[in-house]
Amino acid sequence: MRLTLKYFASLREALGSGGLQEWTPDGAPTAAALRAWLCAQSDAHARALAPGRAVRVAVDQALADDATPLHDGAEVAFFPPVTGG
């Protein structure tokens, strides 16, 4: 499937702002599966998205969680906990 990846704040500084990404999931195409796959793509991804780090995910601009399913054409954003206001 083709995804639009976005990174913000400290993740953007580590990984760039994102872009189009072809992804062929091994199993269920969830947000957690994508994160795990991204961790295997480079040392920078492995550090920034490491399990246990506080990373939030949004799918199609709505807050999501590990189990949220992804679809072809989805916009998937990874970012640290938010600190607005």
Binding site: K6, F8, A9, S10, R12, P51, G52, R53, A54, R56, V57, A58, Q61, A62, L63, A64, D65, D66, A77, F79, P80, P81, V82, T83, G84, G85
Partner: protein, 176 residues
């Protein structure tokens, strides 16, 4: 004028509050909150604060919060203006203003919106200090504040995602 705006420019608090009340006679109360940049944290002097956001999602998330506030309280109208970019100590960051028939609804909706915004809207702050730049850490106290309204938030937690995230309503999806 849109009720949710993300902008670099400052805002005129008086004009925003007046706009909530203009041409209507059902408003009995307008409550507002203005957040400002502090020049100090517990540890350091802060010479600037740089705010980043997720364009599109931010507006949708805040519209969804306003819809939730409308369903809980008797909100007649609301404004949320949040600045992004580089801000100096003393500058305004955010305005939340609510118009209602009665003060209790206005006060409560204003605080509810602010608690929601702190943990559910995609903004990030970076401080410039004598030690360099650093991203501000999320505070668990802000999740606790939202929990008072019966909404769970794991924003500041290590791994837990947002169990309390509210679904986007149709109204939010249609927002500009």
């Amino acid at each position: 004028m849109s009720r949710v705006r993300i902008q670099e420019a400052d805002f005129d608090v008086g004009a925003e509050l007046a706009a909530l009340q203009d041409d209507r006679t059902d408003v009995g109360a307008v409550a507002s909150f203005v957040g400002c940049v502090r020049g100090h944290t517990r540890e350091d002097d802060v010479s600037a604060l740089t705010l980043e956001h997720y364009p599109g999602m931010t507006e949708r998330a805040i519209e969804a919060m306003i819809a939730e506030a409308n369903s809980r309280f008797g909100v007649l109208d609301a404004r949320v203006v949040h600045r992004v970019g580089r801000l100096m100590p003393g500058e305004r960051i955010v305005l939340v203003a609510v118009a209602a028939s009665h003060r209790r609804d206005a006060f409560q909706a204003c605080e509810f919106l602010m608690d929601y915004l702190k943990t559910q809207a995609p903004f990030w702050k970076k401080e410039t200090t004598p030690q360099g730049e650093r991203w501000v850490d999320a505070r668990t106290a802000d999740d606790v504040a939202l929990a008072r309204w019966g909404v769970a938030s794991g924003n500041a937690g290590a791994t837990t995602p947002w169990p309390g995230a509210i679904a986007h309503t149709d109204a939010a999806a249609d927002a500009p």
